[in-house]
């Protein structure tokens, strides 16, 4: 394991510091959206061409296990938030949903980390990203309001399954899978060669956004900071154990731990805003973006790598 800090993480720090110093620096929203689209497509494509290389018979079990994990994590988070954090029902449910779901930006940093360390991982990991996005949202809604008549499940399904994230990840996956390694070659300069540059710029902007969420923290106190660090550590442990039980490679287990530890800031906030409007979005976003995202980027991913080494030494 090389020890030097990855420069893309420095871009995040640059954005964070510039934001905290109230620099006028900011990327136009159109550029931020563009970078997100590029990341999602690139992750999907990368997964797709790998799938094209190998049979993927044994996929069902891992997918099922991962869905169960995505369902359980918010169920664990909720009582903590509710009893220890003393949040009202809607807020506890909403935050729990954020932490049960995943962050694509964190996942992108993790695969960049694995790339730099030349650690392989299973081709179907992007599928995990997709299937982990959804269940926590449903669990969150049910926790907030029971299985209510008011919830328009059709609309919700539309919102969840046709959101930008799922469509671009799945779309990239299919295109990569159909086109295969050679087919994708002509578009590789855009989606693969530029990947880390795009990620660097994306993280610059994420740093700026994270800085703007720190205000929310000041208002809502220490509990959120604690939860935003401790719960990911717990979730990463679950992810590590699950990855090990599923027999995933080192890289795959690190990714699963990272996904478990990451908290959503795109799909879940949008869905919660519409279905559980009485939840205060500042709470969940300042936890997810102001605490957990920086923690995972700066400290978490290498740490989860250690988790995996540990369990493999113990278990192997």
């Amino acid at each position: 394991m090389t020890s030097s800090i990855d420069p893309i993480v420095l871009f995040f720090l640059l954005g964070l510091i510039a934001g905290l110093l109230r620099s006028e620096l900011r990327l136009p929203q159109a550029i931020y959206e563009f970078l997100t689209v590029l990341l999602l497509l690139a992750i999907g494509l990368k997964g797709g061409i790998e799938l094209a290389k190998q049979p993927f018979g044994e996929l069902l079990m891992p997918l099922l296990a991962v869905i169960i994990m995505g369902t359980m994590l918010p169920l664990v988070a909720y009582p903590i938030l509710s009893l220890v954090g003393r949040f009202k029902r809607a807020d506890a449910a909403s935050i729990a949903a954020h932490y049960g779901s995943v962050s694509v930006g964190t996942y992108a940093v993790a695969i960049a980390y694995l790339g730099a360390q030349q650690i392989d991982y299973e081709a179907y990991m992007p599928l995990f990203v997709v299937v982990l996005e959804v269940p926590a949202i449903l669990v969150g809604i049910v926790m907030a309001r029971g299985v209510s008549r008011d919830t328009d499940w059709g609309k919700l399904a539309h919102e969840v399954f046709l959101g930008k994230g799922v469509v671009l990840l799945m779309g990239g996956l299919f295109i990569g899978w159909i086109a295969g390694p050679e087919g994708v070659e002509p578009i590789a300069p855009m989606f693969f060669d530029l990947f880390k540059g795009v990620l660097a710029l994306f993280l610059l902007e994420m740093g700026l956004i994270a800085a703007s969420q720190i205000g929310g923290l000041r208002r809502y106190g220490l509990f959120i900071v604690g939860f935003g660090i401790l719960f990911p550590l717990f979730a990463a442990t679950i992810g590590t154990v699950l990855g090990w039980m599923l027999g995933l490679s080192t890289g795959g287990t690190i990714l699963l731990a990272t996904l478990a530890a990451s908290a959503s800031y795109i799909a879940v906030p949008a869905a919660m805003r519409l279905t559980v409007p009485e939840a205060n979005p500042t709470l969940s976003i300042s936890a997810s973006l102001g605490v957990t995202f920086p923690f995972n980027i700066l400290v978490g991913i290498p740490l989860y790598h250690q988790f995996v080494n540990l369990i493999q030494n113990l278990g192997g």
Binding site: Q29, Y32, I266, A270, P277, E278
Partner: protein
């Protein structure tokens, strides 16, 4: 120049509500609307449009008084409690009143 008076209803709210509010407008009898992207500050804090979740939209609807009232009533009941939103009304003169 024959002009008639209509209500101009301006709604400034979270971008996340766009779809939902537009469906309401349609159902409650508005014949059209105009949207611009916006940012701002209010009781629910600063919404600086640096990303989706903190973006606002500003919706303008020209309509007869009763439609405006129906919309305001609906919006008050469904969105006021939980969303960043302001609504205001004024009078405007329009040229082709049958359009609105």
């Amino acid at each position: 120049m024959h002009l008639e008076t209509r209500k101009l209803l301006t709604i400034t709210t979270e971008a996340a509500l766009e779809q939902s509010v537009l469906e309401d407008l349609d159902r409650l009898g508005a014949h059209g609307y105009t949207i611009v992207d916006a940012r701002g500050r209010g009781h629910r804090g600063s919404r600086n449009a640096s990303w989706d979740l903190t973006s606002n939209i500003r919706i303008e609807v020209v309509c007869p008084e009763q439609v405006a009232e129906a919309i305001v009533t609906h919006i008050r009941e469904h969105y006021y409690a939980n969303y960043a939103m302001i609504v205001f009304l004024s009078d405007v003169d329009v040229l082709r009143p049958e359009k609105f």
